[in-house]
Amino acid sequence: MDFTLSSEQKALRDAVRGLLTSAYDSTETRREVVKDDPGFSEKTWARLAELGALGLPFSEEDGGFGAGPVEVSVVAEEIGRTLAPEPFVESVVLGGSLVAALGTAEQRSDLIGRLAEGALVLAVAHEDLGKPVTATQDGDAWTLDGVKEPVLHGARADVLLVTAALPGGGTGVFVVEGDAATRTGYRTHDGLRAARVAFDGTAATPLGEASDAAAAIEDAVARAQVAYCHEALGAIDVALHQTVEYLKTRKQFGVPLSTFQALTFRAADMYVSAELVRSTVSWATLVLADDPDRAREAAARAKLQVSRAARHIGQEAIQLHGGIGMTAEYSVGHYTSRLTAIEHTLGAGSDQLRVLASSVGEHGVVEPIA
């Protein structure tokens, strides 16, 4: 049992933090970057690649750096701390995991290689509005039909990985060149980007075999969920810290807000939430690394805990700031907005709870260590 980062991992953290805090040195800087498409900074994306952050979780033979979930979590947390809008979890963790798990050697080498170099933005088109995209085979050629929405970073993506119903049943993953689909991009409330992506007899290549990939999709989703949880941890930490600082410095009725016990106790409760969620999320990362059979359970538990903590802390951070917390010029509301978005990406707390509740009779105590 060990919850501390190695010195290499700390060095990675410091490097990413240095890069992102200089790229997003103020709320205004970030607002400028997300104002125009693609909603993030291509330069910062390239710098993350130079740092090696975009190839971290992939094997060296595929063009990656052979690191693991802990290193991914370190990057994701710094993304969360700065609200960096770059599509790290979407491209590297969700997209990259699918490629690594399903792709042919050639696809892996091509897509992961470009991803690691910063030459590729991948978007996974998975959400639909209840009507799955269908895949049709004609000889060796495949085409897709249907609509995916919202697809995060779908309009900017160079390559789309599309989940689609296979003719013989099951869900496959297909590679589509971004330009081949009809894409309408828009801004999400947290300043990022999503898109409606429509396929109309659109040419597609199976990622690996055109066979049911449900297990690999679930596994990649679990990895991305845990990475999002770390992104949330970073945002939670900053929202808590800013709130505490505000209570110390802001005066009302002639005294600092920290004089009011009803407020400081609420800050204490925020701290409790923050520490508890950090424990669960860190554990989930260790499970990804050491006990992959439990990855989906651990991701569900982490995401449920993040849901509770993110709402608690996000809402209280604004409330304890008062009016200033409502304004776009001040950062704390952006953290709340981003936390809300993370909650609703890849399954909300209530979705996790439903899954966990359905199996609650199948075990006695929950043991964190196998």
Binding site: A262, G322, G325, M326, T327, A328, G333, T340, H344
Partner: protein
């Protein structure tokens, strides 16, 4: 004790319901139902429709357009408007400055302002809060110095809701810098086209523009625009803020949004017992709030504020926030698509869900934060 409405009140309710659902322009009611922002024109048209029928300012003295209704009738009027998706008369006009002018203004001031205020020919803004005086309103610093027939105003106001549409602004200003806090404050009415007055928008976290900063740089205000007496402004402000007992809690609109949420959820109400339970719990909490509002109006005939009225704002805004949060959860991943435009398959209600949720975090901050409400309950009601 009795449950049912009297025949008279039941008839009154029917009359209101019919008027609101047939006489107020449909485009306006549709915009409210969609939880989209109303244009200035829509707000004005809605209020003028009400005012033409004598339904815009029932709480005012009868001679200025008010109605001699019972508190229960005013409650019914207010609830039915919300349920019918009719925008409430602009609070700054109908609930705030109007009653103050009617109570404390000179006859000249009344004649000059009240009819135009009722008809929204003048759009009023509120200039109370300042950057360094949040919940501690009395520590305001904007100054008004007498100079002949005028006051010269300097300072800054903030959180001025819909100030971008404002024709006039009612302000609290410091007229006696020597006096302690509350004692040196006056209420001034200021034409927002006056030289030296500028309005700067504040963008909120939902991306919308509804509040503003208002700057005063040597703004000259005719002395006749002083409400009542100099240095009595704090009394008028207290009257203004404590004036409304009916409609403190946004019950009707919250009920409506909750009912809409059930429609959005559709089959999931049957398939997902956790969601159904959450809705049932909210409905029950909202019922308790509505019944508390009814208790307050039913028992306030003697003119004294009912102690339970203090829970209405606190709990009303909490439930308003809970319901906006529920809608986001029903939207699920579609709640991300707030910026979706034509061509998107995401339904409109899901697009507005998160911006509305974020926007309504203000409900527990503005107009006396919920912390202030708890303080009032602890001190005034419980004697703590």
């Amino acid at each position: 004790m009795k449950l049912r409405l009297s025949q008279e009140d039941a008839d009154f309710r029917e009359e209101m319901r019919t008027f609101f659902t047939t006489q107020v322009p449909q485009d306006i009611r549709d915009t409210v139902a969609a939880r989209r922002e109303l244009s200035k024109d829509q707000v004005v048209r809605a209020q003028q429709t009400l005012n033409a029928a004598g339904l815009a300012v029932p709480g005012w003295p009868v001679e200025w357009g008010g109605k001699d209704w019972t508190p229960l009738q005013r409650h019914i009027w207010h609830e039915e408007m919300q349920l019918a998706c009719v925008p409430l008369p602009l609070a700054f006009n109908a609930s705030m400055i109007g009653p103050v002018i009617a109570q404390f203004g000179s006859q000249e001031m009344k004649e000059r302002f009240l009819p135009a205020t009722a008809n929204l020919d003048i759009w009023w803004s509120q200039g109370f809060s300042e950057p360094d005086a949040g919940s501690d309103l009395a520590s305001l610093r904007t100054s008004a110095v007498r100079d002949g027939d005028h006051y010269v105003v300097n300072g800054q106001k903030t959180w001025t809701t819909l100030g971008q549409y404002g024709d006039w602004i009612f302000t609290l200003v410091r007229t006696d810098p020597e006096a302690k806090k509350q004692a040196g404050i006056s209420m001034l009415l200021i034409d927002m086209t006056s030289p030296g007055l500028t309005v700067r928008p504040i963008e909120l976290i939902d991306g919308g523009h509804e509040v503003n900063e208002v700057f005063f740089e040597d703004v000259r205000v005719p002395a006749e625009n002083l409400v009542g007496e100099e240095n009595k402004g704090w009394d008028y402000a207290k009257f203004l803020l404590g004036n409304e007992r009916v409609g403190v809690a946004p019950v009707g609109s919250t009920k409506r949004i909750l009912a809409q949420a059930k429609e959005h959820a559709g089959d999931r109400l049957e398939q997902d017992p956790l969601l159904a339970a959450r809705v049932a719990e909210l409905e029950n909490e909202l019922l308790a709030l509505e019944l508390t509002a009814l208790r307050v109006v039913a028992d306030s005939a003697d003119g004294k504020p009912h102690p339970a009225s203090s829970v209405l704002k606190l709990r009303g805004t909490e439930l308003q926030q809970d319901v906006t949060e529920l809608v986001v959860d029903i939207a699920g991943p579609l709640s991300l698509a707030s910026g979706a435009a034509d061509g998107s398959d995401v339904p409109d209600w899901a697009r507005v869900a998160t911006p509305q949720y974020l926007n309504y975090r203000k409900a527990s901050i503005y107009g006396g934060s919920n912390e202030v409400q708890r303080q009032i309950i602890a001190k005034t009601i419980l004697g703590l």
